[in-house]
Symmetry: C2
Subunit: 318 residues, 2 copies
């Protein structure tokens, strides 16, 4: 598909949102696709958040398994989930898309439809990007710009011994669907929205930041064991979680709830004495353990406690 045609398509799609204006004191996109750079204004007193995420065919998705609107949705959801994990607000997205010759226009249209539907839901604009021809496979790289009041971003490094550990939603659902796909089972995308159309937890992240509840936060994209170890490393603490407390998704076995990726739930810590609601913005919040002195993650299971190695979720391999 010709490059210019795709850029024009993105441009028309994103302008349809109607929020490309030169004067908007609340912030937003001042000039968008069609110039050398996008020009964006952040709300007064806010800092910028930036995250970039690849979505590569046969690494993060397969054309045979994932409908194109799901690929577009998941591509943007990966970036939005990172914004959520800082307690931020999304402002704009930028899509770099390299397509091999065998991709049909209909696939691209559906991909953009899925991406733009999610963007509209959370009020951000697709404000730019780049296109190229790919030698092999579909390659998307999504950049999301967000904002957060200066100094208020929730980092991974703020957890302290004595804090309680919480997760949103249920874990292991996306990996369970992936196992079924790998086993050759036919699955209808609309029956498993957690895998095909995950909801980034932006409202939850914002609530936690606004109420000063979270001392550290990360999104669970690589699996609970891996992402909790990231918090421990950045905060220089250890963690003890309890197997029976982990909210496994329906049909998910504990190992997938511990190590499966792509759930896009939030993992956060809060002082143990703080009252954290059981539900925030309609999403369940579950206490699964505590931050302790030392290093590494420990799992309490069947009355004993042992070291939990990071599962090293690597998406799926070709």
């Amino acid at each position: 598909m010709p490059e210019l045609k795709l850029i024009e398509r993105i441009r028309r799609s994103s302008n349809r949102g109607g929020n490309i204006t030169r004067n908007n004191s609340r912030g937003g996109v001042q000039a968008g696709i069609g110039d050398d750079c996008a020009v964006l204004r952040l709300p007064r007193g806010h800092e910028a958040l930036i995250t970039t995420d690849f979505s590569l065919e046969n690494v993060h998705f397969r054309r045979a398994w994932h409908p194109p609107d799901s690929v577009g949705h998941r591509c943007l959801a990966r970036g939005l989930s990172d914004i959520a994990a800082m307690g931020g607000e999304p402002v704009a997205a930028f899509l770099s898309l390299a397509l091999p010759r065998d991709v049909r226009q209909r696939w691209v249209d559906e991909f953009l439809r899925g991406l733009l539907r999610l963007a509209k839901r959370f009020g951000l604009t697709l404000a730019g990007g780049d296109t190229a021809q790919s030698p092999d496979g579909i390659l998307a790289d999504i950049v999301v710009l967000g904002s957060v009041p200066a100094g208020e971003a929730v980092l991974r490094s703020g957890a302290r011994a004595g804090d309680a550990i919480y997760v949103t939603g249920q874990l292991g659902g996306a990996a369970t669907v992936l196992h079924r796909l790998q086993a050759g089972k036919r699955i209808r995308a609309r029956d498993f929205p957690g895998h095909f159309y995950p909801t980034p937890r932006l409202e939850v992240g914002r609530y936690l930041r606004e109420h000063g509840l979270a001392t550290a936060m990360i999104d669970i994209s690589d699996g609970l064991s891996t992402d909790l170890s990231h918090i421990c490393e950045e905060s220089r603490v250890g963690a003890r979680i309890v197997g029976t407390e982990i909210p496994a998704a329906s049909r998910a076995i504990l190992s997938l709830a511990l190590h499966g990726g792509d759930d896009y739930e939030l993992l956060f810590t809060a002082p143990a004495k703080m009252r954290v609601p059981n539900t925030i913005a309609g999403v369940s919040v579950t206490r699964i353990g505590d931050i302790i002195r030392g290093r590494g993650v420990r799992l309490v299971q069947n009355g004993s406690e042992k070291k939990l190695a990071a599962g090293g979720w690597q998406h799926f391999k070709g």
Copy 2:
């Protein structure tokens, strides 16, 4: 090369710059690689500029032709040139890099060295990114965040009939080197820095913005004919340029100066009565024609005037 190792490498490389700090009133990176998002503060009263550019093996570079430090340099230069074309200042870069299995660590080290050397020269930080395994070929996507005083970004859309048209430096040099490479000639990278290590015209862009000289601006990445037609389209005007006035690079024929890409010079318009210096920040500035009413680009050559079609520079094809 394992993903985590590469992220750690980038992290160490970029921290060496020493400009990741939490409190810096001039703006800059507040938190960098190792969190869900980078957190950046812009100077007070500034807007954000964002640009993304692919650098794909066999589309934008070839491993047999381009030393790895040149690939890293050119990757970042593409983004910096876009910031220059808005009259902006670069703040931070984000690198998404997908590598096939056959790439050696030494190649990656040299790639990063070239990229970071250019970043250091212009005072910006490599503040994040993503890594993945590529099914085929090296795929880099560079994001550059810059800033500009609110409302002062130089857009493509401000050219008016009667404005004069200027270019910086010489044109066609990068394409001339490419033709020699395609013809199988051996070329030493250090003898042709314009192709292998182009200098983004950040000082020139900033000077033009600060002095209110440029009504419209773009960088010449796709070739003069194509990029001038972008200004004409966005400004809804036409242009007339004079063949003998175009500053062709040494050994470059006029067609390459008109249509060759990758020069990363600036093309801008200014009211004809404004005095534009012949040299800005050590870079020559040449008047090549005028903005006129109507549509399209016209070339005056050998005493006659004819329509100049956009050359449609597509980098080189496999």
